[in-house]
Symmetry: C2
Subunit: 243 residues, 2 copies
DNA sequence: GCTTGTCTTGCGGGAACCCGCAGATCTTAG
DNA sequence: CTAAGATCTGCGGGTTCCCGCAAGACAAGC
């Protein structure tokens, strides 16, 4: 049994190493990689079945790395280990997990006990373990507080990328007016209107929406970069023109 | 001699504690705070002259905390200790440092030797120490690659907040056309035009500018939040109504 | 069937945005 | 003082955005 740790902070890396050795005495070998890119290579070379993965790394973030690892070996068990419970990350993870794969999601602020428990549960018993703080975000469809539909979230990302309404309509195969409608209902969910109501001063609604999405941690730079890469793919592989 | 450590990650906190005790044997007491808010209180209560401050914390980020600490005791020596060399953070720090104050800025990835050296240099010899990677950003005015004027950066922040051109004009006491001019030169610096040139597909320029600023780490959520708070101050203290 | 509700699409217009052009102001160098 | 250069400002227009209104599509329920 061999475990691969992918984490770019040296302290956290050694902490994880120690925790893994302590929680899993049956573990023969613990490998380490310093960023997502190297993690992919190491996982491919060593054929590790168990991975502890940091999100938010320099060279290549944990979501990208996990996706390629799962693409090559879908039975790999991955425990995600993240700083915050940003909605963008949680969504990103749940978007790439393949059918039936086992994974976990724990915050760096959890106690060592919980971490070790999660290691044993995910790696040995193939249970999915998700921290309570994260769980709150994962179940979508709550009381409009910060529960965006998948469709609305998609629109939000496209807007945050700086796309035009018309461009979004082409990409999503929708009418122009429909895109604008979804934007409006996005504005309502984000309380954009309430703010402009206070003063006569007006916001530019679409950029304001991006701003509050940032502040509410619905978006972050990594999510935008991911979407940007997907966009460039669509952009070059197929030309978008006409009805 | 007493040192206050403000850092919300437990591992980094203990690492810093050890480093401080090792680098500064003449240090009597090492205090710790878990976020910016508590750090302010502890600094006020203990009258610590030396602070090691993390940026990017939950409750109140390091820049805010440092500002209030410096406002109460401008002779406090602060060593900033950050994950990345994000332009937004560097700008934020250099914006709040008072006249003649001594401070340092080192990355978490630097070696323990460099960290200890920085601790001694800043705290004992009152030297300003700034990591090489950070230095690159600090000197502004380079070959248009990512060198934004202060004025351009201000505009960028206001746009990222979601403000209207007219609103920005009022806030900055400028003409509407001037704001739009600055926006145009911002677009050029960010290469917004080059991108739209590839395809007929159009971007919404202002949100696109925010997107690339995010991806180039010129902006981040903390910077937006900071600006938002300033905005709300102006908003309520004085009413903005054009002639 | 009829109604109710949600989602999509079109039309139209007022407002905001993007920008070329040209005159006015201010700085800097010779 | 003058000339050159950068910045600010107003005007006019083409485009996009924001949104109220209304008609069609589809599903669920009495």
């Amino acid at each position: 049994m061999r475990v691969l740790i992918v984490e770019d902070d040296a302290l956290h890396r050694s902490y994880l190493n120690e925790a893994v050795r302590s929680a899993l005495p049956e573990c023969d070998d613990v490998m380490e990689s310093e960023d997502g890119r190297l993690g992919e290579i190491e996982a491919r070379k060593s054929r590790a079945e168990f991975v502890v993965m940091d999100l938010q790394m320099r060279e290549r973030n944990g979501i990208e790395a996990a996706r390629t690892i799962w693409r090559e070996r879908p039975d790999t068990k991955i425990l995600f280990w993240s700083n915050y419970s940003d909605e963008a990350y949680v969504r990103g993870v749940s978007r790439i997990v393949p059918e039936g794969a086992t994974y976990g999601y724990v915050l760096k602020s959890t106690s060592e006990e919980r971490l070790k428990l999660a290691l044993r549960s995910v790696f040995l018993e193939s249970q999915c373990v998700i921290d309570r703080e994260v769980r709150g975000i994962q179940q979508k469809g709550m009381g409009s507080a910060h529960g965006l539909t998948d469709g609305e979230y998609e629109i939000l990302v496209d807007v945050a990328l700086g796309l035009t309404d018309k461009t979004i309509a082409n990409r999503k195969k929708l009418s122009l007016r429909t895109v604008q409608n979804r934007l409006q209902q996005l504005y309502e969910k984000l309380d954009i209107y309430k703010e402009t109501g206070d003063d006569e001063s007006r916001y530019n609604l679409r950029t304001r929406a991006v701003a509050v999405a940032l502040m509410r941690r619905l978006l972050n730079a990594s999510a935008v970069e991911r979407a940007e890469r997907e966009l460039q793919n669509d952009w070059t592989s197929q030309e978008f023109q006409g009805p």
